[in-house]
Symmetry: none
């Protein structure tokens, strides 16, 4: 769940960012109206927390611009408590309006209320290699059936640890992933020196994903350093 915070006060920006991150949200920021619009377009946030009093563009302009192409929930935060301001913002397309100063608990509750109506729709990518399809959003791995057969794609069952490991590798295609980063990402920050699980789980992943586990083609090992996920470049029709 990604939230875009648009505010020209760096202090508020920072405080809000910390709070939202602590509550499990992914956070993007913008310092003025123009940036708010471009970030909203680039990041596809699931919600926008928008300060009305920003330079370059008024908050109303930002709302109208974003509403031009997106139905993302917009929560306006403003120092002005005048009802005319609220009416203007809400009628421009905002979904909620909170006046400063506000209780952070209330803001969080309002964020939950708004995101409750439009759940998820994350645009996580789908990674393909060989006859394997990794769907990051659905947490699912599928194996395409043999060519010519019209059977269903088969579900590849992964254990939680196997999945986390595959996720880390697949999110950094073609890049070397150090043994220590793999350990900390999958098992936690306190795990730093390998005692053998890495080799085990790489082995099991290869057994489940590689066409020929003995000669890996996608999950490569860099001796002494770590592992590397390499998707096949061109389709390789041969």
């Amino acid at each position: 769940m990604k939230i875009l915070i648009a505010d020209d006060d760096p202090q508020i920006l920072r405080a809000l960012g910390i709070t939202l991150t602590a509550h499990g949200y992914e956070v993007a920021v913008a310092h003025d109206g123009r940036q708010a619009i471009s970030e909203a377009a680039a990041q596809h946030p699931d919600l926008i927390v928008l300060d009305l009093g920003m330079p370059h563009l008024t908050g109303i302009d930002v709302i109208v611009a974003v509403r031009g192409w997106s139905a993302v929930p917009i929560l306006v935060v403003s120092g002005r408590a005048d009802s005319a301001d609220k009416v203007d913002a809400l009628d421009a397309g905002a979904d909620d309006y909170v006046t400063k100063p506000f209780a952070i608990d209330e803001l969080l509750a309002r964020i939950r209320a708004l995101t409750r109506r439009t759940p998820a729709q994350s645009d996580e990518p789908v990674v393909r290699f060989g006859d394997i399809t990794v769907d990051l959003a659905a947490h699912q791995v599928l194996r395409a059936p043999d060519a010519g057969s019209s059977a269903e794609p088969a579900i590849v069952r992964l254990t939680p640890t196997e999945w986390k490991m595959l996720e880390v590798l697949v999110r950094s295609p073609r890049r070397l992933v150090t043994r220590t980063t793999l350990l900390t990402e999958v098992w936690g920050p306190q795990y730093t020196n390998d005692t053998g699980y890495l080799r085990l789980y790489v082995s099991q992943l290869r057994k489940k994903l590689e066409p020929d586990p003995a000669h890996p083609r996608y999950l490569l090992t860099e001796s002494g350093m770590g592992y590397r996920f390499v998707p096949d470049e061109e389709p390789a029709p041969n």
Copy 2:
């Protein structure tokens, strides 16, 4: 566009009724919590303006009850400005919270904001799997009769908790639903660690929905991660 106003103060009730009628809304009224629930069920309003401080039932109870079967927008009006009250109401399922005294213009703008958002999601689908039909809009689950029999579809009775859980799963077909998201969606944002209810309700849902509860086909469990609803694709030959 029909709005249900629930308030025990006849003066406010009357003033709001006149204003809303003048703005083209159809108006229904309730004088206490119990009546609010029954009117909401009978009238199917497009929005509910709910006073928190009513006799017979607290406003929170009304929200929870209505949310048990309906997603109608709920705008809470209350004399209490304490942020804890706001958080409780919003987390119970309210969509907005306005403190008295309020400007009538602002209330109207918030009503417009809430009603603007809902028609977009009026495409409540009907989900089918096996001999089960889940009607999200009607909040009903039906089991088709045996083939050849000309009997009526039987209604499958679900408790409120079972329904919420099924709804969350069915709304994300094929996607893994984490244990924590299930908990927060069904029991509320403050519930985050399982103490066993999840397993219990999944078990009961399977007992009511699965053709063979011992070998689930639609409500699958991903050990260590969560659950997944998988509708059947095409018949899947061989």
